[in-house]
Symmetry: C2
Amino acid sequence: MVLSVIGAGKVAWHLSKRLHACGLHVRQVYSRQLDKALQLATEVNAKGINRWEDLDATGVDLIIIAVSDQAILEVAQQLSRQLVHPPLVVHTSGSSPLSWLSEALPRSGIFYPLQSFSWGRVPDFTTIPICIETAHPEDQNFLIQLGERISHQVRLTSESDRKQLHLAAVFVNNFVNELYQIGAEILAEKRLPFELLLPLIQETAAKVQALPPDQVQTGPALRGDLSTIERQLDLLEAHPDWRELYGLMTGLIRG
Amino acid sequence: MVLSVIGAGKVAWHLSKRLHACGLHVRQVYSRQLDKALQLATEVNAKGINRWEDLDATGVDLIIIAVSDQAILEVAQQLSRQLVHPPLVVHTSGSSPLSWLSEALPRSGIFYPLQSFSWGRVPDFTTIPICIETAHPEDQNFLIQLGERISHQVRLTSESDRKQLHLAAVFVNNFVNELYQIGAEILAEKRLPFELLLPLIQETAAKVQALPPDQVQTGPALRGDLSTIERQLDLLEAHPDWRELYGLMTGLIRG
């Protein structure tokens, strides 16, 4: 399997490196910024380019678009203009429709890794769910095989399921991380180090790996400990938004 | 060091077992329910009791009150009535004042392990911060030494710092767990298994062990991706409380 990658951001970076490490051949890496394209290309033994006219799809089985959601449509149109016989083209976004590709290109699909990628951290790809969707059923097997080269968790996912997964991911990743940040700021007010919360954060995530979250919940809201809740709301007096959040979450936990 | 434990709930259970495993002698375990007292007592080679008149503090260096916050005051008063020469008495609560003990007893303190304990999970005690406070400075060393027998993270903590820690713990533990639960329910609507989110949950917690949360945030809110935010709010139309939470968290992330 030979593929090319459009984008040199976090998803493009981690996905390309993983595909390369699993023996896939990455032909070209495109980025508007040549230095970024070259940097990633060097990592995966590919050619880095920043001009569409340098894109060469001859012998390429797949083009992976791993750019920001807002840029997907434009890239699809660019590929359609540039390539006489475009190969299968996928994007990697949880929330963008397949139609952004399928309206411009003959063969298209989704290759969405359900994970949050960061610079400087190599995630364990084997456990990452890879959600696959294609415009034409005959392209499914190719993407499934590709997914299984890099992960044990490949599944066909409808657009509506994928959007639901992405929504849930925003809650358990972005919103959870914001709660970590609020925790850090609450401690910083008393010059207490964020590190004090790390074992608790670790344990909270570890618990739900084995037991469903509603079975491991604890704390004043669950116990209906109104006097603790009142005292904690008082502590949040200077932060109306955190106070509002505290009230809302407490209500959700109390059910 | 010889100690007795009041309570047989999750904190009493895990703390007693850890103290016993670290070579401390647990003399008696009191619970209103005799079967619970006996069950924990058997685990730590102690005597289980459910009548206050059976409490024997002779030769006991410390009594640990590990009961629900609402019961602490009543237990302290009970100990004061029952014991002619009460030893040092501590409670294990993050949010309850020391005064609930110190007004009834001559020597009192706090021994607060900053962790969320669950049945059937043995946490790694060595990393759990143990927050210590005493009514009299001469009792500090005893509690510090005790703490250091079971954890590497012992610190003297003022009441106001401890309350702040407990507040932050509610955000990063109870509220985070509720977000996991909402994630599970969002997936359940499409009959998607919660397990799909586990690698993401794990990675989100793992990231902040090394980097501060504001440096690893990702997602539509951080990117200011309003069209994705709009579409996700639409998906939440049937859940006004989740929708409100989504709007609030998104606003907090956008800053």
